[in-house]
């Protein structure tokens, strides 16, 4: 909260002292667009006042009769995106964890799968989105038909699974030899060792991975909405309001704030999860 306030103060301060047309180096007289802009413009066009942004949120979206306030539209869109992102996160976590278990169980799998897991993250999202939409649209059996939100879920989970797979594998492999010996001395099998030792021991590694996965899922959702063409989410709204920026400069900031809010909610959710799992985050002190 303090951070938000500080940001707003900084924003207004810069607007106050910064030159209205920014600061250009090497600009030629009378040639627009020449030179390098070192400081952004501070005109109301480029940087609307923070209070204008807030005021804009409660005004209706458009001048049309019966239009909802912009804030409500943004919230609805954010909620839609949240649902999609949450689903993407969940799929990503399940897939990531399954991969980690596979790699834990089979040494060969670790050597075979891990390079691909790492390689998969180098494929740019922009290249992936049309592919997934294409493949998805070919899927059709019976009453089931592929919807664009499903593509968004896939892309979000694609970004979310990676930190989970890597983090979970490290966590599951974290128990030291003495603990593994102990489980062996109890004649505990692989699954018992997994549930009683490896899973609890993996929690400190898992929490940061889940947090990263949540952030990735949110970013993935927002970006994928735009490139897949899924309407109704916050990503799409950012694109739509950006078009209106020239006539209504405060408008595009609302969905951007909505996206930030989305990220905060996701982070909050993981923090809640972490609090729930806190008993497993105790560290052993070496006597």
């Amino acid at each position: 909260m303090v951070g938000v306030l500080a940001l707003a103060v900084l924003w207004e301060l810069y607007k106050l002292v910064g030159p209205a047309d920014g600061w250009l180096v090497g600009a030629q007289e009378g040639v627009t667009g020449s030179g390098i802009r070192l400081l952004p413009r501070t005109s109301d066009q480029a940087m609307p006042h923070t209070w204008d942004m807030v005021a804009r949120v409660i005004e209706p979206v458009t001048r049309a009769q019966g239009a909802l306030p912009l804030g409500v539209v943004v919230l609805l869109a954010a909620l839609t995106s949240l649902g999609v992102a949450a689903l993407g996160w969940l799929v990503g976590v399940v897939v990531g964890f399954a991969l980690a278990l596979l790699m834990l169980g089979f040494r060969i799998a670790e050597r075979a799968v891990l390079p691909f897991v790492i390689l998969s993250q180098t494929v740019p999202l922009i290249a992936l989105a049309p592919l997934i939409r294409n493949w998805g649209s070919r899927l059709e059996f019976g009453a089931f038909s592929w919807e664009s939100w499903m593509s968004v879920v896939i892309i979000a989970s694609y970004l979310a699974f990676f930190p989970v797979a890597v983090g979970a594998l490290r966590g599951l492999q974290s128990p030291d030899a003495a603990h593994l010996d102990l489980m062996r001395s109890y004649a505990a099998g692989w699954w018992t060792t997994l549930f009683r030792l490896r899973l609890p021991a993996s929690v400190p590694f898992l929490i940061p991975a889940l947090r990263l996965a949540a952030a990735n899922a949110v970013v993935g959702t927002v970006v994928a909405e735009i490139s897949v063409g899924f309407t109704g989410g916050i990503g799409r709204l950012i694109l739509e309001t950006a078009v209106a920026a020239s006539s209504d400069p405060a408008k595009p900031w609302a969905p951007i704030l909505g996206a930030v809010l989305l990220g905060l909610v996701a982070a909050g959710f993981v923090a809640l999860l972490a609090a729930f799992l806190s008993p497993f985050r105790r560290q052993e002190t070496v006597a």
């Binding site: 603990h179 010996d181 102990l182 001395s185 109890y186 505990a188 929690v203 052993e284 002190t285 006597a287």
Partner: protein, 302 residues
């Protein structure tokens, strides 16, 4: 799962011909050796094809209810031998039998309890939950577990700390929890690898006395790895002296300073205790210098 043996092996004079079934098993158990190692060898494959002979030609018998210490310089294979008995590792030659069964079968039957130098408690489990871990893994019901945990907490003097977590305990307390855990299933054999190694001298001596008391109460056989000569002499019925490269047993010294139950603190100042310490020290130094420099060096070391 665990063999239902009575935890107290008749310290009071029970007539041997009692017809009760429990006593009959106890008598049968007493005739089986706790550990028998025959010609055991363990060779590790080192880097670039080099081989490390950690143990060779090990012949060792630990009788039921006997306290045996393994002592020797670092790297002589004490831990390796203990791990072989526990079936955490397998010998490259020879065989090990625990209570007449193979080491593997004995592990599966939960015939032994084990404690290491590091307490090795699970940090996310409370003291009580750590102690009941083996019971839980082997499907004991909640009521049995609770009763047994209470008993063990009393035994190691931590009754007030049941709900504490390992990171809230001192090193000595953690080690006592680990010992309680190793006793959870009333094993007739206790394997301990330098369990007091990380403790200060005062705590260490108190723990030793406690271990003797616990051992007297449970009647378990103990194989105890240590670096400390006084510790070995104070605790043991028999001290097994080992020497490195290749790891082997060079001497066995009977100490037996009296019944485990009535060994008190004053024993540490007893003449018999010092005699034992001297004997073990000479055996150790003799073993160290004999193969290399000859006897001349071994004698003058005090």
């Amino acid at each position: 799962m665990s063999s239902p043996t009575p935890s107290t092996p008749a310290p009071e004079p029970t007539p041997p011909d009692t017809t009760s079934g429990a006593t009959a098993t106890a008598v049968a158990d007493a005739t089986t050796e706790a550990v028998v190692a025959r010609g055991v060898e363990r060779v590790f494959a080192g880097a670039k094809g080099a081989e490390v002979v950690a143990l060779t030609g090990i012949e060792l018998t630990v009788h039921a209810g006997e306290f045996v210490s393994l002592i020797g310089p670092s790297g002589c294979g004490k831990s390796t031998l203990l791990r072989l008995i526990a079936d955490l590792d397998e010998p490259t030659a020879g065989e090990i039998r625990v209570f007449g069964r193979t080491a593997k079968q004995a592990r599966i039957d939960q015939s032994y309890g084990i404690a290491f130098q590091q307490a090795g408690l699970l940090p996310w489990r409370s003291v009580a939950a750590n102690i009941e871990l083996p019971l839980q893994l082997h499907g004991a019901d909640a009521a049995t577990r609770r009763a047994r945990v209470a008993e063990l907490l009393d035994l190691v003097g931590l009754a007030d700390f049941a709900k504490h977590y390992p990171d809230q305990l001192s090193g000595g307390m953690q080690q006592r929890v680990a010992i309680a855990r190793s006793l959870a299933e009333q094993p007739r054999l206790l394997l301990m690898d330098e369990p007091f190694g990380a403790l200060d001298e005062m705590t260490r001596e108190r723990m030793q006395t406690e271990l003797l008391r616990i051992r007297a109460e449970t009647g378990a056989a103990v194989v105890f790895v240590t670096h400390s000569i006084p510790e070995a002499v104070y605790l043991s019925d028999r001290v097994v002296v080992m020497s490195p490269r290749p790891g082997r047993i060079t001497d066995e010294i009977d100490v037996r300073l009296g019944d485990a139950a009535d060994r008190g603190e004053d024993l540490r100042e007893d003449a018999a205790f010092f005699a034992g310490v001297t004997a073990v020290r000479e055996a150790l130094h003799g073993a160290e210098s004999a193969p290399a420099a000859g006897a001349a060096r071994g004698v003058d070391v005090r």
